[in-house]
């Protein structure tokens, strides 16, 4: 992809993102246009509710899409992603453990210390599953096996999660089930002061792996021969992915299909393999997808919160099905 085309596409995506962000700020149960800007309700709704939700959508979408891209490149498997490989399930289980077993912590409205612990647990869960998947992928080179192990692992972890939910009281159970449906609306501006630095550091750090990620698309042996420290790359990608998935899952719940479908869509739309281009496009496209999903949620159900997972699955599933019929992307 030429430099001018890359800049043009990036600017177009930024424009779409800006439009979607404005739509997301405007749509909701209260019509902002009906309020005077001097009205305290206006600034309260805009800054305390809508702005955190819009920023969370951007962070969740871009972060999960980038994670998906990193995993797909590392495993050289276009079907890899945090949700499919069970990484989100790992996060969810560990969040369940943190929220249900530690009685002082509740998912909604918990104090900053509790939130930090839940986030840490979420990162640990993501790291744990990614590490297992990576070990399996090293033992067995078949992409199908790796995916199946990821799916099975996700099921096992979900079963454990179900067990913990079964043993918990009704209030905790309801809170956790709501969290599990995924939501970008429960994050506050105070939460974002905690999330944004972590998000920014991991995103910036990811861009330092462009060169080795380009090389590993050939295969590990070629990458090693091209001077790439493959073990260091693997560990770095696992840590970055685990932090991103862990933080996003802790605050938004497990959001489905963004991680797998956005990198695939990005490859289908923008015919490039270079990670500078793909990372940029995935970040912007991922943010656009979750913002669109949130706008759809608001339009369809302004009086109550429609689970964002419902919409992301409706957008994401057709993309995955399309992939299965698109042989050029198949390397399994």
């Amino acid at each position: 992809m030429s430099k001018s085309k890359f800049i043009f596409t990036t600017l177009m995506l930024l424009l779409v993102l800006a439009v979607l962000a404005i739509c997301d700020l405007c749509f909701g149960s209260t019509n902002l246009f009906s309020l005077e800007s001097s009205n305290p309700m206006f600034s309260s709704i805009l800054y305390d509710i809508r702005l955190p939700k819009t920023l969370t959508s951007i962070i969740a979408g871009s972060g999960l899409a980038l994670c998906g891209l990193l995993m797909q490149s590392l495993f050289r498997n276009p079907l890899a992603g945090p949700y499919v490989l069970g990484v989100s399930s790992g996060s969810s289980l560990f969040v369940a453990i943190a929220t249900m077993m530690i009685s002082s912590i509740h998912v909604s409205g918990f104090f900053i210390m509790g939130k930090s612990i839940v986030t840490l647990f979420s990162i640990m869960g993501a790291f744990f599953v990614t590490l297992i998947i990576l070990l399996v992928s090293r033992k067995n080179k078949s992409n199908v096996t790796v995916l199946l192990v990821g799916l099975m692992l996700g099921q096992i972890l979900s079963a454990f999660q179900g067990l913990i939910e079964y043993m918990s009281n009704a209030d905790n159970l309801k809170t956790f089930v709501m969290w599990g449906m995924g939501s970008v609306g429960s994050t506050t501006l105070q939460d974002l002061y905690f999330v944004i630095p972590i998000y920014a550091i991991t995103i910036v750090a990811s861009f330092f792996f462009i060169k080795p990620l380009n090389a590993i698309l050939l295969n590990e042996q070629y990458a090693q021969n091209l001077g790439v420290n493959v073990n260091a790359l693997r560990l770095s990608v696992i840590i970055l992915s685990a932090i991103l998935v862990g933080v996003i899952t802790a605050f938004c719940g497990p959001i489905a299909f963004v991680g797998i479908s956005v990198p695939i869509a990005s490859r289908l739309f923008f015919k490039t393999s270079h990670h500078l281009h793909q990372m940029t496009f995935c970040l912007l496209l991922g943010a656009c997808v979750v913002l669109t999903a949130d706008v759809i949620c608001q339009v369809l159900s302004s009086q109550f919160m429609l689970p964002i997972n419902t919409v992301t699955t409706l957008i994401g599933s057709p993309v995955v099905i399309y992939l299965l019929f698109k042989s050029k992307l198949s390397i399994g």
Binding site: Q72, S73, R76, P78, F207, F208, I210, K211, N214, A215, L217, L218, N219, Q221, Y222, Q224, N225, L226, G227, V228, N229, R267, K271, T272, S273, H274, H275, L276, K328, L329, S330, I331
Partner: protein, 224 residues
């Protein structure tokens, strides 16, 4: 260029020490087109992985330009030695240009940006193997022979004095095999590269190579 002394190759982990071949002594020089021969499972691929630094030797020494291979950094080794392996690559929108451009990895900045000089080196590598008309084609759309040539062009773009090819003729028809070996011979003669090729096509190899290394099951190695 490559000096191998008392080399023992194989696989080792905490529990096992699986020796595949012992006491290999070999000297390979610039401009040599070396044919590596032997039956399946005798250790040709293990040998190639070991001398390219992908696999640690069990014992013995490998020197490139009078310096032990273990003393080279990965970056420096990548500027000395390039490989072409049997495993097929593909997917991820990889075009012939993209694959050949990865050959510049040891030389470019952390963000993978090619300079004008890098781009001209990639173009030249594609030209040398008559691949320029295919540069924007997806690697999945190319024939096996064309893919193999793309991987060799990647090695040329890597600008290494040593190229190692493991079974490069595995997926090729008769004409493509001859064309491939003629190209390799030309690179040795014109650019003084040391090229090591493993193959089961003994008669074909004998037409082009100037040194043969035959590995036999009883740990014997004959060099001609």
């Amino acid at each position: 260029m490559i000096d191998i002394k008392h080399l023992e190759i194989g696989y080792q982990n905490k529990r096992q020490h699986n020796s595949v071949f012992k006491d290999i002594n070999l000297t390979l020089n610039a401009g040599d087109l070396v044919g590596l021969m032997g039956d399946n499972g005798v250790g040709k691929s293990t040998f190639l992985k070991t001398i390219t630094g992908n696999l640690a030797p069990l014992s013995g020494e490998i020197h490139i330009n009078n310096k032990s291979i273990s003393h080279y950094t990965a970056q420096h080794l990548a500027q000395l030695l390039s490989i072409v392996v049997t495993e097929k690559i593909g997917g991820f929108n990889l075009t012939a240009w993209d694959v050949v451009a990865t050959g510049r990895t040891p030389y470019i900045n952390i963000f993978g940006k090619l300079t004008t000089e890098d781009e001209s080196i990639v173009t030249k590598a594609l030209e040398q193997l008559n691949l320029l008309p295919l540069k924007d084609k997806l690697i999945d759309e190319l024939s096996d022979g064309q893919r193999q040539k793309v991987m060799i062009a990647k090695s040329l773009a890597q600008q290494t004095p040593i190229i190692v090819l493991d079974e490069p003729t595995a997926f090729l028809d008769h004409t493509s095999k001859h064309h491939l070996f003629a190209t390799l011979k030309q690179l040795c003669v014109e650019q003084g590269k040391l090229i090591i090729v493993s193959s089961h096509d003994l008669e074909l190899m004998k037409t082009y190579i100037n040194k043969s290394v035959m590995m036999a099951e009883n740990n014997s190695i004959s060099i001609k």
